[in-house]
């Protein structure tokens, strides 16, 4: 039931954002709101079926607004800074063609799959690194475009991201 309610609320909010500016009830028209409710109920039922078929348990800690605030700070502050640095780095490498590639292993020690996914996505967007594979224990195999050390620590690859992501999802 909680899964149904959460899926309904989020898909309805998404529909409202997409159709803003269509009419006179606040900024939505009555037809859009009615169709939004119908489609959100259908989406919620489909999501419920999917959850049941996978057998996953809902993790309600992500609904805490404090975590969303941390996520916003993380996305605007350290993540955007690292993305900018990464792009200038890749730009230099495209022009000069200086590479020394290799695949290394790091273990960020995240407890949930969602946390590992966020670390892997952050790694892909940060300087010199690209996540290639993940094993069962949460170790990430990283393609490094300019290998300095053959057995790096976590801080060498992704400066302080695991700490931030632990605060956000765990």
């Amino acid at each position: 039931m909680t899964v149904l309610a959460i899926a309904f609320i989020f898909s309805f909010l998404f529909y409202l954002v997409l159709t803003a500016g269509s009419g006179k009830v606040l900024v939505w028209s009555i037809e859009e709101i009615c169709f939004g409710i119908i489609f959100s109920i259908l989406t919620a039922i489909l999501v419920k079926k999917l959850w049941l078929s996978v057998g996953a348990k809902p993790d309600l800690r992500i609904l805490n607004p404090k975590r969303w605030a941390f996520f916003l700070i993380y996305a605007i502050g350290p993540l955007f800074f690292e993305i900018t640095k990464a792009n200038f780095d890749v730009a230099c490498r495209v022009i000069t063609g200086k590479i020394r590639p290799g695949i290394v292993k790091i273990s960020p020690g995240m407890k949930t799959d969602f946390g590992t996914m966020m670390v892997a996505n952050s790694i892909t967007l940060t300087p010199r690194t690209l996540a290639v594979d993940v094993d069962d224990k949460g170790n990430i195999y990283v393609h490094w475009i300019f290998v300095k050390i053959k057995e790096p620590r976590v801080e060498d690859i992704c400066s302080s991201f695991p700490k931030w992501i632990k605060r956000i999802v765990e």
Binding site: V17, L18, A20, G21, I83, T84, A86, N87, V90, A91, R93, V94, I95, G97, I99, R100, P101, G102, I103, V104, K105, M117, A120, N121, T124, L125, R128, L130, A131, V132, D133, D135, Y141, H143, I145, V147, K150
Partner: protein
């Protein structure tokens, strides 16, 4: 003033798109090419979208409220791109490794030893 900001954002965006596409020709193998495309095209697209967002917000505040819709939809597509593009790059990299393409000129390859342990 705002026109200048839009020009600068568009220029940064298109320069990084060009660099991302050039990296397809400058680098020797799949993984290094993915470095270029995954980072540079995401970054360039973000700046092009920021230009469109500023453009829509500027017109919305100067008396055409229907332009606000342009900004809202562009923000949605920016968030979608930030989530989907690195995930797609990761999927392609894993598929490339599992279909047997080794990184060219690799100094160290820890994934190879993992596969051997798994087979034993």
């Amino acid at each position: 003033m705002i026109m200048l900001i839009i020009y600068i954002l568009l220029a940064i965006g298109i320069i990084f798109q060009i660099l991302g596409v050039l990296s397809l020709y400058r680098f020797p193998d799949v993984y290094t090419r993915l470095h270029g495309t995954a980072k540079c095209t995401t970054f360039g697209s973000i700046f092009i979208y920021l230009a469109v967002i500023v453009y829509g917000a500027w017109f919305a505040f100067s008396g055409n409220p229907e332009y606000a819709v342009l900004s809202i939809h562009t923000i949605i597509i920016m968030v979608l791109l930030l989530v989907t593009n690195p995930t797609g790059a990761h999927a392609i990299a894993r598929a490339a490794y599992r279909s047997g393409i080794m990184p060219k000129g690799a100094v160290v390859d820890m994934l190879k030893t993992k596969d051997k342990v798994a087979r034993k």
